[in-house]
C-alpha cells in the first residue's frame, strides 16, 4: 500500500472501514510527517497530537474550542476560544479531528501568506516561492500531505488562489452555503468558508458535511448541500462552458494562458461546448472590491479593543492597518456616497454580468490567477500590485456565486489552477465539471518532492 498520508479523504475513509490501518496509525503517520516538514515549511501554528479522528488542518481564522486561535495576528496571540465554529462542530460530528491550525495572512488579508505575524509559509513546490494567500498554510498542508483535507476562507480568492499555487482542489461555496459562525470576520458581505482537498470528490464530501443552516448565520440557506455521486459521474457532454474574453487580456502570463487553453481543449474533448462570453464590468470589479473590503474590515476590526480578549491595537499588522485606514476614510462623513455606495452599485453590475452569462452557459471557466506562484518578497512593498493578482477571483465573491479551483497543469514546474464558476447555489455542476476533468487528466495526483 502507498504511504497513508498520500491517500485522499475518500480513500482514507474506505481504508479505515476496511481496517487497513487504525485511526491511531493514521494520526501518527501525519504527525510524523508534520514533525519532519513543518520546520521547513512553517505551515502549522499549533499541532494537536490526537490518536482518534480523521486529521483535518484548519485555517487559524476559524475558532476552535480550547485550541489557541490567533488569526495569525499578534493581537490575538493569546486567544483561546470558548466554543467551536459551526463548521468545526459539524466536522467533529463526522469523525474528523483538528490536527492543527494553519498559518495565513493576518486576519485573512493578503494574497501571498506573507502578512502573517508568525512568519511566511513556503510553497512546497519551491521553497523560494509564495504558497498564495490568504489560506496559505491550509493549501500547503494539503499539498505536502500534512492532513487529509483542510478548511480555508475566501473573501476575494483566499481559497482558490493558494489552491492554484499549490496544485490542490479548493472551493469557495455560494455565499450563504456555509455558516460563518465562528469565522473571524473580515468582510462580512463576502466571506465564505470552504474545503481545500486532494480531489474533487473530497471537496464534495466536505461541503456536504459543513453546509447548512445553524441558526447563527442568518445568511445561510436552510437547504443542505448534497451531491449524488451518480451526478458527479454524469460527465459534461453537452454542457455549455463560457470563457470570458476579459480573463484572457493584458496581465495574463502567456505560459499560464497556454496551460488554461489546453485544459479548455480537454473539456471540449470530454463533450463540453466551449463558447466565448463577455463579463464587461470585470475591469471595475477590483476597484469596487478594494472599497467594499476595507470598509467592512474597518467596521469588523473595531471590536478588537483588548478588553474582553486579545491585546491592544498597537499589535495590528501593516496590511490590516492599511485596510482599516482605507475603510475608515471611505466610510467617513462626506465620502460614503462617493466610495462605498458607488462600489455597491458597481457590484450590482458585476453580479448582473454573471446573471446574463448564466442565461446562456452552465459554467464559466478561466484561470484562477494571472501568474503562477511568485518569489517570496516580490510584491510585499507594493500593495496595489499584490491586489491586482486577485483580478480573476474577486468577481465571484462580489456576485456571491461558487468557484472551484482545480489543478490543470504546470508552468516551469509550478502548478496552474483552472477556475470553474457556477450559478448561485449550483456547486453541483462545477463539481461535476471538475470531477470529469480530474478523471481525464490526473493532474491532482502530482506531488512535490519533499
Amino acid at each position: 500500500m502507498n504511504d497513508i498520508t498520500s491517500l485522499t479523504l475518500t480513500q482514507t475513509i474506505s481504508a479505515l472501514k476496511d481496517k487497513q490501518f487504525s485511526e491511531e496509525e493514521l494520526n501518527n503517520a501525519y504527525l510524523e510527517k508534520i514533525d519532519a516538514l513543518n520546520p521547513k515549511l512553517n505551515i502549522f501554528l499549533e499541532v494537536k497530537k490526537n490518536t482518534r479522528g480523521i486529521p483535518a488542518a484548519i485555517k487559524d481564522v476559524i475558532i476552535t474550542k480550547n485550541i489557541k486561535t490567533t488569526a495569525s495576528s499578534k493581537i490575538l496571540s493569546n486567544f483561546i476560544p470558548q466554543y467551536n465554529a459551526t463548521v468545526i462542530g459539524k466536522l467533529l460530528e463526522n469523525g474528523v479531528s483538528v490536527i492543527g491550525k494553519t498559518n495565513h495572512d493576518e486576519f485573512a488579508m493578503g494574497g501571498s501568506g506573507e502578512n502573517s505575524a508568525f512568519g511566511v509559509t513556503k510553497n512546497p513546490w519551491d521553497f523560494s516561492k509564495v504558497p498564495g494567500g490568504s489560506s496559505s498554510g491550509s493549501a500547503a498542508a494539503v499539498c505536502a500531505d500534512l492532513c487529509t483535507f483542510a478548511l480555508g476562507s475566501d473573501t476575494g480568492g483566499s481559497i482558490r488562489q493558494p489552491s492554484s499555487f499549490c496544485g490542490i482542489v479548493g472551493l469557495k461555496p455560494t455565499y450563504g452555503r456555509v455558516s460563518r459562525y465562528g469565522l473571524i470576520a473580515m468582510a462580512s458581505s463576502l466571506d465564505q468558508i470552504g474545503p481545500m482537498t486532494k480531489s474533487v470528490e473530497d471537496t464534495a464530501l466536505v461541503l456536504d458535511w459543513i453546509s447548512g443552516a445553524d441558526g447563527y448565520d442568518s445568511n445561510v440557506s436552510s437547504e443542505k448541500f448534497k451531491v449524488q455521486s451518480s451526478k458527479l459521474n454524469e460527465g459534461i457532454k453537452g454542457l455549455k462552458i463560457g470563457v470570458p474574453k476579459e480573463y484572457f487580456g493584458e496581465g495574463l502570463d502567456p505560459k499560464v494562458e497556454k496551460v488554461i487553453k489546453e485544459a479548455l481543449k480537454k473539456l471540449e474533448e470530454l463533450g463540453g461546448e466551449v463558447a466565448e462570453i463577455s463579463l464587461p464590468h470585470s475591469q471595475y470589479a477590483l476597484a469596487a472590491y478594494y472599497i467594499i473590503v476595507p470598509s467592512e474590515v474597518s467596521s469588523n476590526m473595531a471590536r478588537y479593543d483588548g478588553i474582553r480578549y486579545g491585546k491592544g491595537r498597537e499589535n495590528i499588522g501593516a496590511e490590516v492597518k492599511r485596510r482599516i485606514m482605507l475603510g475608515t476614510y471611505s466610510l467617513s462623513s462626506g465620502y460614503w456616497d462617493d466610495y462605498y455606495a458607488k462600489a455597491a452599485k458597481v457590484r450590482t453590475l458585476v453580479k448582473r454580468d454573471f446573471e446574463k452569462a448564466f442565461e446562456k452557459v452552465d459554467v464559466v471557466v478561466g484561470p484562477v490567477s494571472p501568474t503562477t506562484a511568485w518569489n517570496l518578497g516580490e510584491k510585499v512593498n507594493d500593495p496595489l500590485k499584490m491586489y491586482l493578482s486577485d483580478i480573476y477571483t474577486i468577481s465571484a465573491n462580489l456576485a456571491g456565486i461558487p468557484g472551484l479551483s482545480i489543478p490543470c497543469g504546470f508552468s516551469e514546474g509550478l502548478p496552474v489552477g483552472l477556475q470553474i464558476l457556477g450559478k448561485q447555489w449550483d456547486e453541483e455542476t462545477i463539481l461535476t465539471v471538475g470531477y470529469a476533468f480530474e478523471q481525464a487528466t490526473q493532474w491532482h495526483m502530482e506531488k512535490p518532492k519533499l
Binding site: 470558548q82 445561510v220 491585546k311 485606514m325 458607488k342 452599485k345 450590482t348 462580489l398
Partner: protein, 97 residues
C-alpha cells in the same frame, strides 16, 4: 486623489489606531495610489443602478424569542486581560477616571 499626512492622522484617530510618523508618510503615499486606482469607478455610469449590499437573497430572517444555552460567566471572562468580581475591567469613560 491625494491623501495628505494630516488626513492620515485624522483617519488613524477615527479608527483608534496608533500610527507612527513614518507610517503616516507611508500610508499617505500608498493609500493615495490605491485611491487613484479606485477612481476608475467614476467611469462607470451607475445613475440607474441599485446598490448591492447582500447577495444571499435572505430577508427578515428571524429566530424564536426564547432563551438558549449561553457561556457560563467564568468561560466568558476566560480571555479577559483584566477582570474583577466577575466583570470585565475597562478604561474609564470620563477623563478623570
Amino acid at each position: 486623489m491625494k491623501l495628505t499626512k494630516d488626513q492620515v492622522k485624522h483617519v488613524a484617530k477615527l479608527a483608534n489606531l496608533p500610527v507612527t510618523e513614518e507610517e503616516e508618510e507611508k500610508y499617505s503615499e500608498q493609500l493615495s495610489k490605491i485611491l487613484d486606482y479606485i477612481d476608475q469607478l467614476n467611469q462607470v455610469d451607475t445613475s440607474d443602478v441599485e446598490p448591492t449590499f447582500n447577495v444571499s437573497g435572505q430577508t427578515n430572517v428571524q429566530s424564536e424569542d426564547k432563551l438558549g444555552v449561553c457561556l457560563p460567566q467564568d468561560d466568558a471572562l476566560s480571555n479577559a486581560p483584566k477582570k474583577e468580581n466577575g466583570f470585565f475591567v475597562t478604561k474609564g469613560v470620563f477623563d478623570n477616571e
